[in-house]
């Protein structure tokens, strides 16, 4: 961005400005303007981060650490250690981790399969477009799509029962409990994996495979010694992103499993909106704080892995 004004002035001025003594001051003042412009350009993003990331974090910290009277208290944080809350945190992490692993493995296989197609192949475009849409197809609509398909009266459920005699819910209606959340979650995790992991796979240069073969390597050897080590950081980074994605999901679960608030985002809702157990708004802050810590850890790991992955993208 900072070099744009220089190159725009003409095809030769770019290199001339760097060596010509008269042009230097002009260039540096232009550079200052450009860099000021660059900073102004950052403003909307900075404001966005401030409003929707920093401010909520501060508010969560504030409401979690203080009581209604404004006194510092550890009571809400202590509530984080209650057996119910710990159980629910455990559920949430387990659900997020399991769907992230399943989603990333299936998604990576889809990406790998697509490598066999040319860039402009219609199938690849369809999968790309489909993944972009479906990765965002979470929430209430997804929940209702599942209820209509796999609910107790769902199309697929009745079909299985009538045609094959398989009763999906012989052991109880698990679709509306924690286990029932896995399928919908994987449904939006796989496309997200395709979107984030595809670029890394594309960056695997065919020349590497050719070099490997030329030097007498095998196909399996290529994956073991070159492909997988190169892809591992990108894969792990995508996995962590998927984890954070599932961890913060709310609406899908809210519509499917309304009893007992089995995941933390639903516990936060309960603490905020309850009309039967009053005065627990600050617990919501403490729960949010707990989530922020876990997501921050995931994001820290993500960025650490990402830095390593970047080495291979140059």
């Amino acid at each position: 961005m900072t070099i744009a004004p220089l190159t725009a002035a003409g095809p030769t001025t770019g290199s001339a400005a760097a060596v010509s003594p008269e042009a230097a001051p002009r260039a540096s003042s232009r550079g200052a303007v450009a860099s000021a412009l660059a900073w102004i350009g950052l403003l909307p993003f900075a404001a966005y981060i401030l409003l929707f990331l920093a401010l909520p974090t501060i508010l969560a910290l504030g409401s979690g650490l203080f009581d209604d009277a404004g006194n510092l208290t550890t009571e809400n944080l202590a509530a984080l250690a209650e057996p119910t809350i710990l159980l629910v945190f455990g559920n949430t992490v387990w659900l997020s981790l399991a769907t992230a692993v399943a989603g990333s493995v299936i998604g990576a296989l889809v990406c790998w399969a697509m490598l066999g197609l040319a860039d402009a192949h219609p199938m690849r475009r369809v999968v790309d477009a489909g993944a972009s849409v479906l990765a965002q197809f979470g929430g209430v609509m997804l929940a209702f799509a599942f209820i209509a398909t796999f609910g107790l009266q769902g199309v697929a459920t009745l079909l299985l029962k009538d045609a094959l005699g398989i009763d999906l819910y012989a052991d109880g209606p698990w679709i509306y409990e924690l286990p029932g959340l896995f399928a919908p979650y994987i449904y939006f995790q796989v496309p997200l994996m395709v979107i984030t992991f595809m670029p890394a796979l594309v960056a695997l240069r065919p020349q590497w495979a050719e070099a490997n073969l030329t030097l007498g390597g095998t196909r399996a050897g290529f994956w073991v010694h070159i492909g997988l080590p190169v892809l591992a950081p990108a894969f792990l980074a995508s996995l962590l992103l998927l984890f954070a994605n599932a961890f913060s999901s709310y609406a899908t679960a809210a519509a499917l499993a309304s009893q007992g608030a089995p995941i933390i985002p639903l516990q936060i809702r309960a603490a905020l909106t309850s009309e039967t157990v009053l005065g627990r708004e600050n617990l919501a802050g403490a729960l949010a704080l707990g989530m922020i810590v876990i997501v921050a850890l995931a994001m820290w790991a993500y960025s650490a892995v990402q830095r390593r992955a970047d080495r291979w993208r140059r």
Partner: protein, 376 residues
Amino acid sequence: MIRRTLLAGVGLAAASALALTGCAAGSTAPADGAEAAVDAKTATSAEAFGSFEALEEAAKAEGALNVIALPRDWANYGEILDLFASKYPEIAINEQSPDVSSAEEITAAETNAGLDTAPDVFDLGLTVALQNTDAFAPYQVQTWDEIPDALKEPSGLFVGDYGGYMSVGYDSSKFEAPEALEDLLGAEYKSAVAINGDPTQAGAAFAAVGLASIQSGGTLDDFQPGIDFFSDLQKAGNLLKVDVTTATVTSGETPVVFDWDYLNAAHTADNPDWKVVVFDDKGYAGYYNQAINADAPHPAAARLWQEFLYSDEVQNLWLKGGARPARMDAMTEAGTIDADLAAALPATPAETLVPTEEQSTVAGELLGEKWAAAVQ
């Protein structure tokens, strides 16, 4: 006679509850009658405006009314809102967030304070109403004397509007009528029994656990038997945890539902086979309450809405929705109640129980601690 049994129970709860609100009520200054410039914000009755017609004019001049948390399929509110709109076309009704909880109504009033989008009127569960009396403006409708004392805060900070019994609604094309609570544990109710909401959040679901407690030999002092019942229901594979809506009832996804009798009765419109059972020995009752936001952006319209709700016409509309309106006894005596609708209500249990404020708090804490684990 039937209603009196219900009110006797409610009276117990309200009497102890209202003691808490005494100081808040005492501090509000009475309106200074029909002065030249009426301050609608402090008017405590229609006379403060000079006359009911003057109140109507003042409300029309404001031109809008913000209502919140009034689902159109809840206690016939859809028809009630439409009637108000046709009666006062000059007043635009803004129906905000129909599905939020009582607690969120108060939050909405706080976060929108001073804006013309703040809710003018509330429809609240008793627990939330009792804890937020300083957010309300006292007002007594013209039919105030006909509202039983047990249902109203003495100065009119909040007033019971409609109520009913906790009931079990079921699809009669699929199930026999459950005769007792324990029947629901049977294998024929596999994957069939749902509660309208989570008891740690919604008043109706809280009442379902209360009903299960008193039906399982427990008392309102201890909701544990109720929690145990739903835990057994879960272990039997009978408890459905999906959020109950009119759509899930219509599609048959939730064929047996714990809910207020008037909400269960409303499902009959979408599912003709839907029937409502109120167990006949011990019943659990509850009333919702009307209150005016002290910072109402449309104070006159808010007060006109109250007059409207407590008119014979709207009381009968609530009855049409299967709820028991606050003025039911007086209207039965005066012969203005719709007798057919009144006769269609489920029979009243022999004993009616309503938790006190203290019992509610204790039960709420117990549920917060035990519920999530009990139904997993």
